[in-house]
């Protein structure tokens, strides 16, 4: 009971981290880094609720994905066509989303702070031996597999890797560098958008002013953790989710907290992630042209 609850909790906590990280992995492979994932999660979580209220849970997912894709597109256009600074653009998206959602909640529902999502508008869950599980868990793993396949076994994937490693070479080979990079940026936005929708109309069933609460940054860390391999992003998301849950579980016990204060127990996911990276993952190699705009001159 305890363990299955913990495992289920870890699976559900994995979804936003891994799904967001998976999209970002593809984007970074193509050379576009987006530090604005936190903002995309937030704004698409908001969009998903609006969408779900207009047309049901599926519409919610679609709108979430769409909002994410649009933000990815904005970031991509700045990064790829205007050759702007990707870090600045990402930071801007984060701040913009904080403001837009806070005001958006007031505009949309007339209340400050939060809006609860009606049960009928949420993603229906699957019944599993572990307990009720969101189908998005499976979608996440499938998306990771799909993304892996896309990167390593398709022609588009070849082009994505090429524009990330050596855009000039890709250009000379007839690859449309800008389009492929833009695709990467939009893909990352779309997956983060889907993850945002999962936050609001599935996992937490609510929209608040700061719903992701830092998960966009943890997803960024998961990208580094994964060494740009989507399957490792699943592992990273699970490790984080598991130890986060374990920390909260352990801190409910007075016997434990009297020995180790709960603040230290709740450091667990961060410490474990750091230890895993230090001990097992080690040096990650990133595409040579990652984060750098491509100019023809």
């Amino acid at each position: 009971m305890l363990f299955s609850s913990l495992l289920l909790g870890a699976l559900h906590a994995m979804v936003p981290l891994t799904m967001t990280a998976t999209g970002e992995i593809l984007s970074e492979r193509a050379g576009v880094v987006n530090i604005g994932l936190e903002g995309i999660l937030l704004l698409s979580a908001f969009g998903a609720v609006v969408g779900a209220e207009a047309g049901g849970p599926l519409a919610g997912l679609v709108v979430g994905l769409g909002v994410g894709a649009i933000l990815g597109l904005i970031h991509g256009v700045i990064a790829v066509y205007f050759r702007g600074d990707q870090i600045i653009s990402g930071v801007g998206i984060n701040i913009l989303a904080l403001g837009l959602v806070a005001i958006g909640i007031v505009w949309q529902w007339g209340v400050a702070g939060f809006h609860q999502v009606d049960r009928a508008l949420r993603i229906p869950h699957l019944v599993t031996p572990l307990g009720s599980m969101s189908p998005m868990v499976i979608v996440t793993v499938l998306l990771a597999a799909l993304t892996y396949y896309l990167i390593h076994h398709t022609n588009l994937g070849l082009q994505i890797q090429a524009v990330g490693e050596n855009p000039a070479a890709a250009d000379a080979a007839g690859v449309r560098v800008e389009r492929v990079r833009l695709f990467g940026a939009v893909y990352a936005g779309a997956l983060a958008g889907l993850a945002g929708a999962y936050l609001s109309i599935d996992w937490l069933a609510t929209i608040t002013r700061n719903l992701p609460a830092g998960r966009g940054f943890i997803a960024l860390a998961t990208v580094v953790f994964s060494r740009l391999n989507p399957f490792l992003a699943v592992v990273g998301g699970l490790i984080f989710g598991f130890f986060d849950g374990l920390g909260l579980l352990a801190s409910t016990s007075r016997e434990i907290t009297q020995v180790v204060p709960y603040q230290f127990i709740q450091m667990l996911p961060y410490v474990v992630t750091l230890l895993v990276v230090t001990g097992v993952i080690g040096r990650a190699r990133f595409p040579a042209a990652s984060g750098q705009p491509y100019r023809r001159e």
Binding site: I87, V91, L96, L98, G99, I103, V224, P261, V277, I281
Partner: protein, 386 residues
Amino acid sequence: MDPRPGDDQAAESSGAADRRRVVRDAAGTAGQVLLAAALGLIIGAVLMEIAGYDWTRAYQGLWLGAFGDPWSVADTLASATPLILTGLAFGLCFRAGYFNIGGQGQMTVGALAAVVVGAYIPVPTPVAVFLVLLAAGAAGAVWSLTPAFLKATRGVHEVISTIMFNWIAFYLALYLAFYSLNDPQSAERTVRVLPGVRLAPLLAGADATAAIFIAAGIALALYWLLWHTPWGYEMRVAGLNPSALRYAGASPVWTINWTFMLAGMAAGIAGATQIIGRPPTYALYGDLSNLGDLGFDGIAVALIGRNHPIGIIASAVFFGALGSGARMMQIMAGVPLDMVRIVHGVIIIALAAPEVWSIIAKSLVRRRAARTEPVSAQAPNSPARR
């Protein structure tokens, strides 16, 4: 721009020409920032119009709240103080080619150290203030050295380690603030620092303190370090071409450590300024709410300031102005704080792509050039970044 003047002439004329170029570049950057600000304000106005707020009044409030009277100016400077330092923490690392998102955590441990030293070590005033700053800087430096060390020895990417260290610092501070350093009389905050280390307001009725001079002084010192010492020279080389750094005989490991250490110091001192430099509490709240997100805000400040210490001062003052202007925006027009965030966001995004401005400028130039001569050589360069 004649590409090939004789070398003699070049060497002789370079002094004045170079100075002009520097001024022109700085003016160009400032112009871009102001244009982006204008764009942000316009979009903010449109949103406010849609939402039914009186945006002219709101902007009147923004201006008055930021610069309307001496108190407002002081408040602006007070808000800018920690941002200068957290901005430097990011900007310095960025110059050297590292991505330090750990300013928040470094600031947090700095604030803790400031409380410990400031509250428990009774020594005469100037020494005490110095000790507090030293302790806070040292704590921030220690906190940033671990990611630097992990990067240098184990290749752990600083993005992951600094994010993790932010959270570890957060929980550590929650623990210490409430379990060890708490004020028995008022458990919601730590003990207050001793009166001797509290920096008094520069102007009665406003909360800018001498901390602004500390922050500006550190910015100037780092400017001096970057451009007037061999170590700073090496940091800049590290950021632009790490291989050339080894060729030049400097140790990359050493440079990483130095850079992160100085960045951590700046962030740590930012934490200290929030403790000893902002009346009236002079203590750390148990939920760390007097630190807020200042460490993260530093990233935006640094990027807008183009990671240049002087630019960071200007950019922090700009952020401080938006922050203290937001106060009057709320009071005078009832516009919520979040509207200011939107304006922030738009400004930052607009600044991400200076090329947009040069494209606009270029098209203007082309149109003018079409009237006069075939090609103008005066197309503005986008300023060097990174």
